[in-house]
Amino acid sequence: MSVDRMRCHPSIILETLFPAVLVLVFIIMASVQAWSDLYFAIMAPIPVVLTMFLYWRWSKTWISFTDEEVVVERDTLFKMKKRIPYSKIASVNVNRGLVNRLFGTSRIQININSSINAAIPEAVLSFRIDIADSIREFLASRMYGDSAFTVSADADAETVVSIDWKDVLLHSFFGQSSAQMLSGLFFLLYSVAQIYLALSITGVYGGEGLLSLFVFIGVTVIPSVVILFHYANLKVYRSGDTIYLQHGLIRTYRTSFKVTKINAVRVRTTFFSRLMHRSFIEAEVVGLSSDSNSKRPILCLMKDYAEIDRVFSELVPEFLYDREAIPQPTASKRVLGVKCVLWLVLIGAATYVSSLYAERILASIPSITGYEALLGFTPLIVGALLALATVLWSVRAYSTRTLSAGEELFTFEIGVVDRQAVTISYDKVQIANVVRGPLARRYGLGVSSVSLLSSLGGVKIQSGYFDVGELNRIHETVMDRIRTGKYDYRKASR
């Protein structure tokens, strides 16, 4: 790689300009009634000025790759010289948006190890595809050593798991949290009911139910479509110690990371995915989040349990161990039971107050008749449903949470409706907490909460209720591994 200074591809001007112009167009459209010659005279030059500014910034921005670091220099009003040592780079991602496709370029995003800016790329550069690929390969060889790229990232390597359109569709809808799915369905049903009642009573449709329909679209449909576009054509494979991910329908996302950069692996199920006997795998990877759509990398979309086990063992065998799941002790039933009773009292009080208010409001409207009068029962129905959900949640919360502890890894099985088994490396635990509430203390119980560096910055993962002695073993093992040298910092930073 040359150490000469180079500029990004000029298309980066359009890439930056495009969203700004969209916002401007939206503002103009939204204020269409306020249009006047003066207004237009003020707004019209903005894109031109912005283009000139971006051109100026582009022409004054230089990138160079030395033997030790990437240097990004900018010599505008605000002078900047950013040095990113190769040893500090956590990941390099390449993706292509609409503008990139039009100009035959790729966008390179460089992330460094840090809890503060893990979610924000340290540098975003745009180059012609061939240059971008060679830069990425050069950076990877500097980060991981030459052996990391025995197979090129864009080689036709065989994917570990075959994902078809059915898998992507199922994942995009049923991989969402159950709360999101159920609230979306509630608004859909409410919208249908409103439309049906409007048509059956008056015979004329006056736009009833549209708001609920929009909420359903916003809460459920749009996130599903985003996931669908994002994870379509998913291809995942491993070469040596590096995992490669490639996916995307319109924009292609290509990501690679060393297995040593994975801090935890989550096998997740939602209520709906369990009905289909499916789960999916996510990884907490240091400094990987390169775009707003990707919260944490998904190693495998929703597949049946056996397939997920196979993919797990092929992709991340480092996170496999003989797991002996310890269930929550019987005493935790009492803690959960008392918490349940407290919630029921709170729900009861809220239901009582809401019912009084509903009654008062309905009494003040004498014209209300028929099904509208039933609205008075809404707080009672909602209160009863919440109470039922609380009881069911408390009952299930006892049996679904477990703790497993191996020599190098430990696992928290958590969640009640949406569940996940999070396998964490002791060597990646940054801060360990044992939290004991007033009730749990009486029974010698507590909850463990460990802090890790994730793709989104610092993240806390919390266990169920366990014996404090068992939970203390987690931080004792972390310390023991450091003291005895079992924790290899070279391995962790490679």
Partner: protein, 195 residues
Amino acid sequence: MIRGVRPYIRITFLSNLKHHRNMRTSKEFEINEKGVTAEGFKTLNRKCLSSMYLWNVIAMAVLLLSVFLIYRFINMPWIDMDLLFTITVAALVLLAAYFVIGPMVFFARYRYRMTDDRIDILRGIFIIRHTVIPIERVHQVEVSRGPINNMFGLANVNITTAGGMAIIEYLEFPVAEEISDRLNDIVVNILKERE
């Protein structure tokens, strides 16, 4: 009272209350004649009570002023004002009780320990949290002094790791500096050993 040119204003405000010494504490918080627990955890200086109480008085004053302004100037015809007033008064009484008792419990249950390879913080009013930070994971150490803590010569030590931050609060300034220096020395030594 203010004494000469001391680096902070010494206010004895409530900090000399003795009764919290007798507050019931479990064995893990009990301290011996050397001022440490059986496991070597240290306690905070009593000046932290003054700092917390002063902060609580300011917070309560701001809250009362806000409540007064809301009742005086905002008209909410759709809300039962009598019910809201009862709820507000009850909430303020509970909060005031918390503001009085909270600092004493906080003081009685705050313990910290620093060894050559780890930092332990044991704290909590209702919920007890035991935090363990391996020094090997420490990225940055910072001593911070807010205006109220500064009045009492207190400071916090903020310990940043890759996964988040932990704080040892209400330390006397020289103690905070000492902990910070010691932590930095250990971290620098770890890094040197690895070179």
